[in-house]
């Protein structure tokens, strides 16, 4: 049982891959086992996860209005050969 535990250093080295869901199932289990036992690391993981999720939300906030996208589409269509827009 002891040999299936990882250290704080090992867990933190995998933090980015864990948050990106790029670890194997076995690696995920080892990390999560460590986080259940180590509040210090759990706080760090929680912080980084919250930061990433909110970063994604704000980056994705679409400022392109439909009218702008439609106008762009019309300009593109006008440049396509034999487009009905012509």
């Amino acid at each position: 049982m002891l040999f299936s535990l990882i250290t704080c250093r090992e867990a933190l080295l995998q933090l980015d891959d864990y948050l990106d869901r790029e670890l194997s199932d076995e690696e995920i289990q080892l990390v999560e086992k460590h986080l259940r036992l180590c509040n210090h690391c759990a706080q760090k993981f929680s912080f980084e996860d919250a930061f990433l999720q909110q970063l994604k939300t704000k980056v994705r906030r679409v400022e392109s209005e439909d009218v702008q996208v439609l106008a762009l589409l019309e300009r593109i269509k006008a440049r396509l050969p034999d487009s009905e827009a012509k």
Binding site: D16, A50, V59, V69, L72, P81
Partner: protein
């Protein structure tokens, strides 16, 4: 297929992804005008290559690959000085450490949420636009569409390890930039 049918088919595939392409191009180029030019030029190039696209496969990925390659090639050929990235000893958990030093954890707040609530989308996207080109390309694909390392590697024609490295280092740089912006605006203090 007639030329008109080809145009129609292309338009039908392009229309649903155009907003996303424009959003990504804006974050890549940092300017709405440049982004619209990039998307237009990409669409023209994509149409010229449309015969090589297999209907039923992932048009979005195919189109974005052309867009990102176009952007990166343009940046490389602009004779800009190579963008160096400081290989400093910035801590792995830079923002976590900074908010701890500022005592944010002690106040019973969620420090990540607290910081992000005070930074608007425009600021965050400006920080994203300030990343070096190669890092920015990976970050935009990751943040906007949650692409996997493998998918990003395929879109940018780089090894998965390179994607991983650029994404992780890019996030570190973003944390540093966002904290500096927070300090400049009086949101955070050392």
């Amino acid at each position: 297929m007639t030329s008109n049918e080809k145009s129609q088919q292309f338009e039908e595939l392009l229309t649903p992804i155009l907003g996303l392409a424009l959003g990504m191009a804006t974050r890549l180029s940092g300017s709405r005008d440049d982004a619209e030019d990039l998307v237009q030029e990409t669409a023209i190039q994509a149409f010229s290559m449309f015969d090589s696209f297999t209907l039923g496969t992932n048009f979005k990925a195919w189109f974005l690959k052309i867009l990102f390659n176009r952007f990166l090639n343009r940046q490389r050929s602009a004779n800009r000085a190579p963008q160096t990235v400081e290989l400093d000893e910035t801590a792995e958990l830079y923002l976590y450490d900074q908010t701890r030093r500022a005592g944010w954890q002690d106040k019973g707040n969620d420090p990540a949420t607290l910081l992000m609530s005070k930074l608007d989308s425009a600021t965050i996207n400006a920080a994203l636009s300030a990343l070096p080109d190669e890092f920015r390309a990976v970050a935009v694909l990751y943040f906007m569409e949650d692409f996997s390392y493998e998918a990003i590697a395929g879109l940018l024609d780089v090894p998965i390890g390179t994607v991983r490295s650029r994404l992780h280092r890019g996030r570190k740089l973003l944390q540093k930039t966002l904290w500096e912006l927070a300090r400049e605006r009086g949101i955070a203090h050392d």
